[in-house]
């Protein structure tokens, strides 16, 4: 026997014995331990003891492992997914197959965890590559981002084939469908270019629910970055007609409407008359807006800024990042929040430090309200 394969074979036999002796109750206990892990390494010891049992179950228990991903915190999810992978890898190697029907059923159950469904799909493809043809076209509105992505990619490709065949109307129809469904930035960018090349208008602000109309006030002082934790008047109360003491004198709320195609709200430009000099450092600006919701609902408030920021919803601090010039990845910060029925007030605090490098010449932000997969939730009066 190959020297390298020998320990694998022994391990496989041991795993098989373990699998045979792992009862449903044992698996429940193991999954409970895996789901109990938390920050700072909490629960690692118990999880480490439980993981071999979860990873040694008979393959018929894989749907239970996958189902345990629903509601699992991100750390627990990784404990569980590595168990799924270990079981499937072992069984596929030893037996050459996996339970196709059970995996397919799981993939199609939209009530399961989105990532768990994707995981099941990838194992399914290893034994049933043709499942792709049947399943992917159904996923354009799927709640699993990674499954939806495949459907969008398929529409993009079909559109390109139609365009190559000189069926431009068909291509545009496919790409518009894909654009509406797309949630990943790279696909949105690709589709924006494809549609613009065909003379079609695309509106990212509308597509993503970026908020562009604000009231802004400032500057306030942020010398030595102390202003981040200083509670200035806009954090205490809001009156659109109030006059406040700013860094260099009295300041008032002014209307700001971003014309940026990506909804960037430029506070340096908005407050230029109140700044001591262009792109003044060590300043703070606030922006606020009303957001109307017909119902109470859970949302995400996603924002992007290279400045340090705080965000309040109806006076409650929902997000805070004392990070200066650490990047501007789209949807950089994601805060869970609950809108109340009627009028909600969003307040953003944007802080600039003393850095003077060219890449720090920004006092701006992007902000949108969306669901957990990034679908826009517009303000509705």
């Amino acid at each position: 026997m190959n020297r390298q394969r020998e320990p694998i074979a022994v391990a496989a036999i041991l795993m098989g014995l373990l699998a045979a002796t792992c009862s449903a109750a044992d698996l429940d206990d193991a999954l409970s331990a895996l789901r109990a892990v938390g920050p700072q390494g909490a629960g690692n010891e118990a999880a480490s003891a439980a993981w071999p049992q979860a990873a040694a179950v008979d393959v018929s228990h894989v749907p239970e492992l996958l189902a345990a991903l629903k509601g699992a915190n991100p750390l627990a999810a990784n404990w569980i997914r590595t168990a799924v992978d270990t079981v499937c890898e072992r069984v596929l190697r030893d037996e050459g197959t996996l339970p196709q029907a059970a995996l397919k059923h799981f993939v199609q159950d939209t009530g399961q965890d989105p990532k768990a469904r994707r995981l099941a799909y990838e194992w399914l493809l290893k034994v049933d590559p043709k499942a792709q043809e049947e399943l992917v076209p159904q996923w354009l509105d799927d709640p699993s981002l990674e499954l939806r992505r495949d459907a969008v990619a398929q529409r993009i490709e079909q559109g390109e084939q139609a365009a190559a065949a000189n069926q431009k109307d068909q291509a545009v129809r496919l790409w518009e469908e894909a654009y509406d469904a797309a949630r990943d930035r790279d696909q949105i960018r690709t589709l924006t270019k494809l549609l613009k090349d065909q003379g079609r208008q695309v509106d990212l602000v509308k597509h993503d629910g970026l908020i562009v109309d604000w009231l802004a006030i400032g500057p306030f002082d942020n010398t030595d970055e102390a202003g981040f934790d200083t509670v200035y008047e806009p954090e205490k109360r809001f009156d659109p007609k109030q006059t406040l003491q700013g860094k260099h004198g009295e300041v008032t709320w002014i209307k700001v409407s971003s014309a940026s195609p990506e909804g960037v709200v430029d506070l340096y430009a908005a407050l230029k008359d109140d700044l001591a000099k262009e792109q003044e450092r060590e300043v703070i600006a606030y922006a606020t807006t009303e957001f109307h919701s017909p119902t109470q609902r859970k949302v995400q408030i996603r924002s992007t800024s290279s400045n340090a920021t705080k965000i309040w919803l109806n006076g409650e601090l929902v997000d805070a990042h004392k990070v200066y010039h650490g990047g501007t990845e789209y949807d950089q910060y994601r805060a869970d929040a609950v809108l109340r029925p009627g009028v909600n007030r969003i307040l953003v605090k944007v802080c600039q430090n003393a850095q003077t490098q060219s890449w720090t010449n920004h006092l701006d932000f992007q902000l949108r309200v969306c669901d957990e997969i990034g679908s826009a939730i517009p303000s509705q009066k």
């Binding site: 020297r3 390298q4 320990p7 694998i8 391990a11 892990v37 920050p39 700072q40 390494g41 690692n44 010891e45 999880a47 480490s48 993981w51 071999p52 990873a55 991100p74 750390l75 999810a77 990784n78 404990w79 997914r81 590595t82 168990a83 992978d85 270990t86 890898e89 990532k115 990674e146 992505r149 990943d184 790279d186 696909q187 290279s306 990042h321 004392k322 990070v323 200066y324 010039h325 650490g326 990047g327 501007t328 990845e329 950089q332």
Partner: protein, 427 residues
């Protein structure tokens, strides 16, 4: 019996007529045991356990590695990887461990164990990133080279996920440091590789947000110690300064304004050397000497009794690029921009020779025998003969996107391009 065994020498065993057959067989068994032990020791010594090698020196004792390679010539195997990444592989016995990241958001984190024999996948584990996954398009979330103590593998990613597996792919523990420190990130991706020293895994999360270095217990995954750091991005990696015993090992850390030395047991700062330190290249050591890439190459003598440093020399001309210095024989190598391999005298810093190469060089050169292997991002591996004057021996294309530093173990060279891992070995 034990005493009798000790009396037999290898010379006696070689003399077939000197003893009775049964005793001769016992002696032969003893010799096999000795030879096997020597073989095991050599094999273990040949492991490549972390970034820039087990001692972070980028040097190895491998002899006779191919100096020319291409498709069909000395390429033992080449495999596609499921994820991208600048991370170098590590080698433990006959297994290669390599990380990668994939997906639209680069949030699929991979760790694979490959067979050194044929490159086949022995096991493959995946994690979902729990922290930020933004990364420069050249890099990925698998910027950080994994580390090992020979029994456990510690995979660390730019998302600040840290996972411990045994060599058979069994998960031992997980940390999502992003859940503990959500603002720990930078806009081009974190890249400091973990360092195993003593019983801890040292992770350097030095950045504009929550900035720290932590010593994580390698058995439990719990934080043994954590020290605050400057709020400034660092991509350099923690480096070990070996002591007389493991207890005496010291962890060297780059900060933007100082190199600091720390006790691995507690994180306690033992010494500090203030200068404008390189933020990407990492320090290297030999004995108690420290070779620090900064605004030039700074050479420091460390006194373990007093934990003090004595500056020996600084050579501004050896201010290099992003790859780390390599010390070999009585020389030191630096890659200077644009793509110049410089060799200097170790005692004086006096430059001895330059060899002009091509391309963007991020990877740290590997020194094996009389040759340096220098990889460019464009995919060329330059083999330079290290004589009195450096001489380019060959230029070998291995595929675009090489950021990973070359690795040598078990008589082979391992190279990673953007999407593949290659084993280079004589047939």
């Amino acid at each position: 019996m034990r005493r009798d065994r000790q009396r037999y020498s290898l010379a006696e065993v070689d003399d077939p007529g000197s003893t009775a057959t049964v005793i001769h067989m016992i002696k032969k068994t003893q010799v096999y045991v000795i030879l096997l032990a020597a073989l095991v020791a050599t094999s273990a010594g040949a492991d490549w356990l972390q970034f820039r090698g087990t001692d972070n020196t980028s040097c190895c004792e491998e002899q006779g590695l191919p100096t020319e390679f291409s498709e069909g010539k000395n390429v033992a195997w080449k495999v596609d990887l499921p994820g991208r990444g600048p991370a170098s592989p590590i080698v433990i016995g006959d297994r290669i461990f390599v990380t990668g990241s994939s997906g639209a958001r680069q949030d699929r984190l991979h760790l694979l164990a490959l067979s050194a024999d044929d490159g086949s996948t022995i096991w493959h584990r995946q994690l979902w990133a729990t922290g930020h996954t933004e990364a420069n398009s050249m890099g990925s979330v698998a910027n950080n080279t994994p580390a090992s103590d020979g029994k456990l593998v510690f995979a660390f990613y730019s998302s600040n996920d840290l996972a411990c597996f045994d060599l058979d792919g069994n998960l031992k523990w997980l940390r999502g440091l992003a859940s503990d420190f959500p603002t720990t990130r930078n806009d081009v991706g974190m890249a400091s590789s973990p360092l195993v020293v003593g019983d801890v895994v040292v992770v350097q999360c030095e950045n504009q947000g929550e900035s720290f270095v932590a010593g994580i217990d390698k058995h439990t995954g719990l934080t043994r110690w954590q020290i605050p750091r400057e709020h400034s991005a660092i991509w350099s990696s923690p480096t070990v300064l070996r002591g007389k015993t493991t207890e005496d090992d010291v962890v060297l850390l780059h900060g933007r304004s100082a190199l600091t030395g720390h006790a691995w047991q507690t994180g306690k700062e033992l010494f500090r050397y203030e200068t404008s330190v390189h933020t990407v290249a990492s320090v290297t050591t030999r004995g108690n000497r420290i070779y620090l890439p900064a605004n030039g190459l700074h050479v420091l003598q460390y006194d373990p009794a007093s934990h003090s440093l004595e500056p020996l020399w600084v050579e501004r001309k050896l201010r290099g690029g992003n790859s780390s210095p390599v010390v070999f024989s009585n020389r030191v190598l630096r890659v200077r921009n644009p793509a110049i391999l410089s060799c200097a005298d170790l005692e004086t810093g006096r430059k001895l020779w330059d060899v002009r190469l091509e391309g963007a060089i991020w990877a740290t050169p590997l020194v094996a025998g009389d040759y340096a292997y220098v990889a460019s991002y464009e995919g060329n591996v330059f083999v330079v003969h290290l004589g009195d004057k450096g001489k380019l021996a060959s230029k070998n294309f291995v595929g675009k996107g090489v950021l990973a530093s070359p690795v040598a173990a078990g008589g082979a060279l391992y190279l990673r391009n953007d999407t593949q891992l290659l084993k280079i070995a004589a047939p």
